[in-house]
Amino acid sequence: MSRKLVIDPVTRIEGHGKVTIQLDDDNNVTDAKLHVVEFRGFEKLIQGHPYWEAPMLLQRICGICFVSHHLCGAKALDDMVGVGLGSGIPMLPTAEKVRRLGHYAQQLQSHVTAYFYLVVPEMLFGMDAPPEQRNVLGLVEQNPALVKRVVALRKWGQELIRTVLGKRMHGISSVPGGVSKNISLEERDRFLNGEEGLLSIDEVIEYAQEGLKLFYEFHEQHREQVDSFAVVPSLDMCLVNDEGNVDYYHGRIRILDEDKRIVREFDYHDYLEHFSEATEEWSYMKFPFLKDLGREKGSVRVGPLARMNVTKTLSTPLAQAALEKFHAYTGGKSNNMTLHTNWARAIEIIHSAELIKELLHDPDLQNEQLLMTPADNAWTGEGIGVVEAPRGTLLHHYRADRSGSISFANLIVSTTQNNSVINRTVRSVAQDYISGKAEITEGMMNAIEVGIRAYDPCLSCATHALGQMPLEISLFDAEGQIVDEQRR
């Protein structure tokens, strides 16, 4: 008799999801899916609000990558009031650099959280380790010195976010046309030199390298497993600058194939010409894809692995050295090894720290010119913002009427872009680890979660829509029989 395995909830991710795996009579996997079972509604609830509230309200979609949402919204509003990159108007240097500083700080602390708290436990203890060991508490027991450094790193990132945005979470600094404050010399020096209870930037860079070292050691010991786990080909997408290198704050969208040929490159303001989204009854998360390539072939991967595949170089020395090793490993081809996402993430931890150091030394941060005032006739009523969030390319698109009331909002978040590739990963791991096995162990089920966790998915961000996705409610009686079903 066929059987269905269910992993519910998937743990150590942001948000709520479950996995179902369908087995036939011989325990062969016939299907496997990640279902995203939570429901939000931000695109709808922002309608009618004054446009200038959007970056403040919509960043509440997430408690992890709120800076990315805030900046994406701010970029969209820059466009809307007529002082944005969409109108070809460059941002004031101080405003852009302050925004970037907050963005890099968030990338650092978000990646450190995902990497050390959510991913490293399996690297140290193995996928088959008992659940009570393979978690952050197990990590504390096994390597307290490492955890102390991780806590210090996160604290440093959070404190920098607080300095730039006013709060550790859901702060406010970006307003249409710029930012509301700069960084004083006193504030800057705290992060450059450190103080009691706060690392210096050089210590941050030193600690940041531990993640990469940890990956190298793990890779050395488990090369076969790491390299063969969920090898999932995909197109890779990220924002790039004029040199074809990843730019986390602004750039053109570039999409590469497995041979690193450019499949598409365009101004993100034209995204609707290129992308469409599909929906499925079994998930609240949509499936974006390139229109002309279709649902499967046109789906893209975003995030650390995609960015390290797309970028030619990284602008900082330690990160560049690590990137060269990363690129050499696949001999110029794209890296499709899902667990190498953690390698890419470890490189980005270092890169973020180095980028922050560069910015902290930039005197523009202390400049007083923070805000551009739009001309009277500059209003466009529409804006699109895209940034590279920790989990990948994030897009906010708003329209507002002349009264200032938001009439339309579209958010395409990184995890949504990754929906197809995550599902392919789930199927791949299910085939390799579960298919045909006489006994299904907890470790096998955890392997599925390891595959999902590599993407550090944020299901809370990804299920923001309202009005297009099916909502199904089933009512069960005490015996588990369905007595009623409602579908919207």
Binding site: P50, W52, I172, S403, G404, S405
Partner: protein, 234 residues
Amino acid sequence: MSIQITIDGQPVVTEAGENLVDVAAQNSVYIPTLCYLKGKPCLGTCRVCSVRVNGHITAACSVPVTEGMQVEVDTTELADMRKALIESLFSEGNHNCPSCEKSGRCELQATGYEVEMVVSRFPYRFPLRPREVAADHIWLERDRCIFCQRCVEFIRDRQTDQKIFSIKGRGITAQIEVNTELANRMPPEQVREAADICPVGCIIEKGVGFNDPIGRRKFELQSVRERALGEEES
């Protein structure tokens, strides 16, 4: 004429006819207010300044002091009553502080902090009052209105002295209105005055917001209590 009253048992010498809220503040006793503005006529709409005067609970802003008056402010019962009034204002509107432009400059929010409100004891009504956005420079976020009537009484057309704002309807159907024609004649400084005089984020300037960074907003620089008591800005 000099008179003597007592506030929480302490003798206070003051002038007859002075407003009780002002007399208390002059003597370092804070009474929260949301409709009363020093130097302006009493509105008596919000009742948040409720105290006990000669044994009867009344709104302090509506009381001119008289000889021998016995005033109780700082009792557990009265403090809780004032807190309940603040809570009811929160539950009767949609006060989404996290994304509200007035956050940090909002008197209702600041007073909520001052009375140590955590959550409303009353069920939230989640009213649905349509926003009024027709005026050129003024946006009315009606669900935040607490019907204090400051704008109604104190913001008037400078040419005709006509009221620009008004309350339409009664009870749960009441809502704030703005005369668009008069509103569009308001000079920028009067638009700003209207937004500032509003104790919540109901009257907001179009296209303006979030300009003060966190940590430098009005009530972060000086608390609502310190402001009421006239203390120096720290």
